[in-house]
Homo-oligomer: 204 residues x 2
Amino acid sequence: MRSMRGIPVVLSGPSGVGKGTVASLLMNMGLDMIRSVSMTTRPPRPGEREGVDYFFTDPAAFEEAIDRNQLVEWAKVYQHYYGTPKHFLEKQFELGHDALLDIDVQGAAAILTLYQEGIFIYLLPPSLEELRRRLHSRAKGEGDDLDFRFNQALREMRFIEMYDYAVINDDPQRAAEECRAIIQSNRLRVERRKPWLRDLGLLT
Amino acid sequence: MRSMRGIPVVLSGPSGVGKGTVASLLMNMGLDMIRSVSMTTRPPRPGEREGVDYFFTDPAAFEEAIDRNQLVEWAKVYQHYYGTPKHFLEKQFELGHDALLDIDVQGAAAILTLYQEGIFIYLLPPSLEELRRRLHSRAKGEGDDLDFRFNQALREMRFIEMYDYAVINDDPQRAAEECRAIIQSNRLRVERRKPWLRDLGLLT
């Protein structure tokens, strides 16, 4: 029996929405899905493992990967590069695993051009007041920075129409369950099941 | 807060696949979904209630409904008419309820031309051998009739590519749960949530 090819599951959302928590809950729900491992030039933090948390590399090697078109998306945040290696993803997809990518709007746009069949989920706060409150509770310093980050979140949220699904994160467990239903039902799509339906003799 | 407009949920599948059982289980899963009520010229059977099981009518009134374009789909099976009244569906959609339609491939094609936003699910047997076995256990008479029905089922299944989803009915409870995940995740689609996201101020 042929196995179904995996696809990218993109999870985006404004800073402060609680994306990391939802992604972790989702990864523990028994779906046949791996978490995409990014390549970065940032030095490893204590406890971070090569090939599990990140593929650690140096700027010269990262820039070579960009030039050779070996990254499906990448960004430079402050002085460090972050990117998604194409080879890693493609291997997972061939093995039939979906891959969760926790990336921003620009990264999602890059994935969309390569994988139209992907699932694009945008995580939203229950309200703008709540988003401001969450950003505030995470803030470490001045109020100026908070306003800047809130306005940045508002700007980013305008790209939601690029996504297939909007999940409200009022409760992380519920939000993760909604993401799971989205991923499970995508696997029931006729176009994903075609090779399998052919093997069963149900489709010619 | 504006409520989300309902859509048709079409459930089709070959004779013998167990569509009725899955539809009944699905209707008891607490989804905001009603079961579409068909209009028919068939006489009521004991216990059938007007407006619940069917809208019972006479051939002249049914033919007038066809002429006035008041049915979203209809068919004549043996000597009786069956059809789905447009007014009934539209009212449910305005109230925000999805509507489950247990109809054949021809009916589904008619629904698709009117409601591209609908959910189209095709229920499949786990194997062709199992379908033949199920048809056999339901058969009341000669083997010729069984072959005819089996070949008809094979012919009908070739239209599966018109559908969005293929659900395998190996276990009716599991099949109904898969249908539920499909319907729930459809409600998380950005295009369905737009009016609501606008009301929240999350979309302009």
